[in-house]
């Protein structure tokens, strides 16, 4: 994919898309995990993505974050070609990701996990010289407050409950201060109350940043009140409001029928 071929972005338009996927395909040994997928996410938008197992939701996130290289297609973040960058560079551009299975650093404390995620110079020497300033500490404390883990600051991540781990990972996402958040199944293992809290948090974040949420829980998706994209067999099946997609016969067939 060279820059010349990729479609020109109209930079004059006020709301140029943050994320732009066009014709993306990923083939593993003949299996098409993504099939000519296109997706556009605008600044500040909150987008929910749903789809049955194997629809390509996680693969799509892998493509955006640089874990998987697409076989074909365009993946852009603002005006950066993501297909040429590795995970770390993509993360530093301002794309944060929360994994389906909460992943953090078990040997470190909650505080330390957040400290690692905090936006700061990432080089080895910079890390060696790093000293925790008052401001950084305040930021970490405020995020701990926000995700409800202030009391557990000095506990190791390994001993947190599943829900708390989800929260910690969301907290790490916030520390990164990303422009685009990719959130994979954030409420799995959460109580109803926590789920509600999470939905509210994501809606709140979305004002300032773009958020893409992958979720199975349709109640949660409804609570987000956002535009919904339905994936199936690696392609987009339907897009629109939650009511729209729930009534789309193709969606019903995929979820219920055959």
């Amino acid at each position: 994919m060279s820059d010349e071929i990729s479609p020109p972005l109209d930079r004059t338009k006020p709301a140029a898309p943050v994320l732009y996927l066009d014709g993306v395909s990923v083939v593993f040994d003949g299996f098409r995990a993504l099939n000519n997928l296109s997706l556009v996410v605008d600044p500040g938008e909150l987008r929910a993505i749903i789809g049955p197992n194997g629809a390509g939701k996680t693969t799509m996130m892998d493509v955006i974050t640089g874990k998987t290289r697409p076989t074909a297609g365009v993946v852009r973040f603002r005006d950066h070609d993501l297909t040429r960058l590795d995970e770390a560079s993509i993360a530093n551009l301002g794309i944060g990701r929360k994994f389906q299975k909460p992943t953090m650093f078990d040997a470190l404390t909650v505080f330390e996990n957040l400290e690692l995620a905090l936006k700061a110079p990432r080089g080895p020497l910079a890390c060696l010289r790093w000293a925790l300033t008052g401001e950084a500490r305040r930021r970490i404390e405020s995020v701990m407050e926000e995700v409800g883990l202030a009391a557990r600051a000095q506990d190791r991540a390994a001993i947190l409950s599943h829900g708390q781990r989800q929260w910690l990972e969301i907290g790490m996402l916030l520390m990164q201060d990303p422009e685009l958040l990719l959130v994979d199944e954030p409420v799995a293992g959460m109580t109803d109350q926590e789920t509600e809290h999470t939905a509210a948090l994501l809606v709140r974040i979305a004002g300032k940043r773009s958020v893409v949420v992958v979720e199975h829980d349709l109640e949660f998706v409804r609570a987000l009140g956002s535009k919904v994209t339905v994936l199936c067999e690696g392609s987009m099946l339907s897009e629109g409001s939650i009511d729209h997609v729930q009534n789309d016969p193709r969606v019903i067939e995929v979820y219920l029928g055959r």
């Binding site: 995970e87 993360a91 650093f105 690692l116 990432r122 890390c127 060696l128 790093w130």
Partner: protein, 364 residues
């Protein structure tokens, strides 16, 4: 994927105790050469043997620290650290050979005996400069560092981790061993370098030289502990632990994992090289056997026995396993391999956190 066991150094009061114990151990070690000067019939007299063997163990302990930094913290299990150690040893060995000068058996003013012997007319280019001590010390760090940089860059860039990395590094040291065994390499082949005369104007094989080398090793050990502690306590240390436990997650946080791993791997190789440079004048020989894969694995096992992921563990392991080995090879020359092999099995099976795990109260 990689080892999931825990534990950076225990916090709070534990840390203080460890500091005190370490300080005490260093002071005790520092006394040894002095006690060696006491008359031989004094109750406190320490024999030359004890001094020289302890000096050797100190260099092993530095090697163990270097391995622990890479493995215990960053999860890079290198089975080729013996190669870095040996390269450092060869660098200083080349210096020592140059210092022999015309005192070799063939009396050649510049060429070491083995070169005279193989019909060399001039020093090979890569031997130039080794007559200067600072250059040799620089090379003892630079060569292992450069090798680690190349191998590490290639391996980390293509995300070779875990056992694959272990196998690659093992093949690296194996290839070097085969290469150094060749007489045509210009490093003395199987015989390597021996019969050193002096270092920095100090005749080796004297109590003074032994004491000096001992203190130099001890100083390097203390410096290494401080450097390692500085790293492991910094945010870099936490990044390394994070890489060890969930490498790809660290990438998604925006850290360039390759650079971090490379940094610690190269640093670790340089430490190992320096340890080797202090080891060789103390044992009086360097030969390609030091590159043998078994040596590297043994050094890793010291760390495992002591308890990886803790600096004290690396030190404890290096001293205790080597003391045991020295004792057993005399007490039970036919059976010591059973004891040592059995120890390795028992530690991996029952003491996943090593000897340190016995003392530390922290829970996982």
């Amino acid at each position: 994927m990689s080892a999931t066991l825990a534990s950076p150094a225990p916090a709070g009061t534990g840390r203080l105790t460890i500091r005190l114990v370490l300080l005490g151990a260093v002071l005790l070690l520092a006394l040894l050469p002095a006690l060696n000067r006491l008359p031989a019939d004094s109750a406190l007299h320490v024999s030359d043997f004890i001094v020289s063997i302890t000096g050797k163990w100190i260099t092993y302990a530095i090697l163990a620290l270097a391995i622990d930094l890479a493995w215990g913290y960053a999860g890079i299990l290198s089975l080729g650290h013996g190669a870095f150690f040996a390269l450092g040893g060869y660098a200083i060995g080349m210096h020592l050979m140059r210092l022999i000068g015309p005192r070799g058996v063939y009396g050649h003013p510049t060429l070491p005996d083995f070169m005279v012997f193989l019909g060399y007319k001039d020093l090979p280019w890569y031997w130039l400069g080794f007559e200067h001590f600072p250059y040799a010390i620089l090379m003892a760090m630079a060569v292992p560092g450069a090798l680690a940089a190349v191998v590490g860059y290639l391996a980390f860039r293509s995300r070779i981790t875990g056992v694959y990395l272990s196998i690659i590094t093992q093949a690296m040291t194996y290839a070097l061993m085969l290469a150094f065994f060749r007489n045509d390499m210009g490093f003395g082949g199987n015989n390597g370098f021996t019969d050193f005369k002096e270092l920095l104007g100090m005749p080796l094989n004297t109590a003074n030289a032994r004491a000096a080398l001992f203190y130099a090793s001890l100083a390097l050990l203390v410096a290494s502990v401080l450097i390692c502690a500085r790293i492991t306590r910094s945010k870099l240390g936490r990044v390394l632990v994070a890489i060890r436990d969930a490498e790809s997650r660290v990438r998604f946080l925006g850290y360039d994992v390759t650079r971090h791993k490379l940094f610690v791997f190269v640093l670790s190789a340089m430490l190992a090289g320096l340890a080797g440079a202090l080891y060789v004048p103390q044992v009086g020989i360097i030969n390609p056997g030091e590159f043998s894969p078994g040596n590297s694995i043994e050094a890793v096992i010291w760390v495992a026995v002591g308890g990886r992921g803790t600096l004290v563990g690396a030190l404890l392991g290096a001293f205790s396993v080597n003391a045991l080995k020295t004792w057993l090879t005399t007490v039970a020359p036919d059976l010591w391999l059973f004891a040592l092999g059995g120890l390795f099995v028992a530690v991996t099976l029952f003491l996943p956190r090593g000897l340190v795990g016995l003392f530390s109260k922290t829970t996982t």
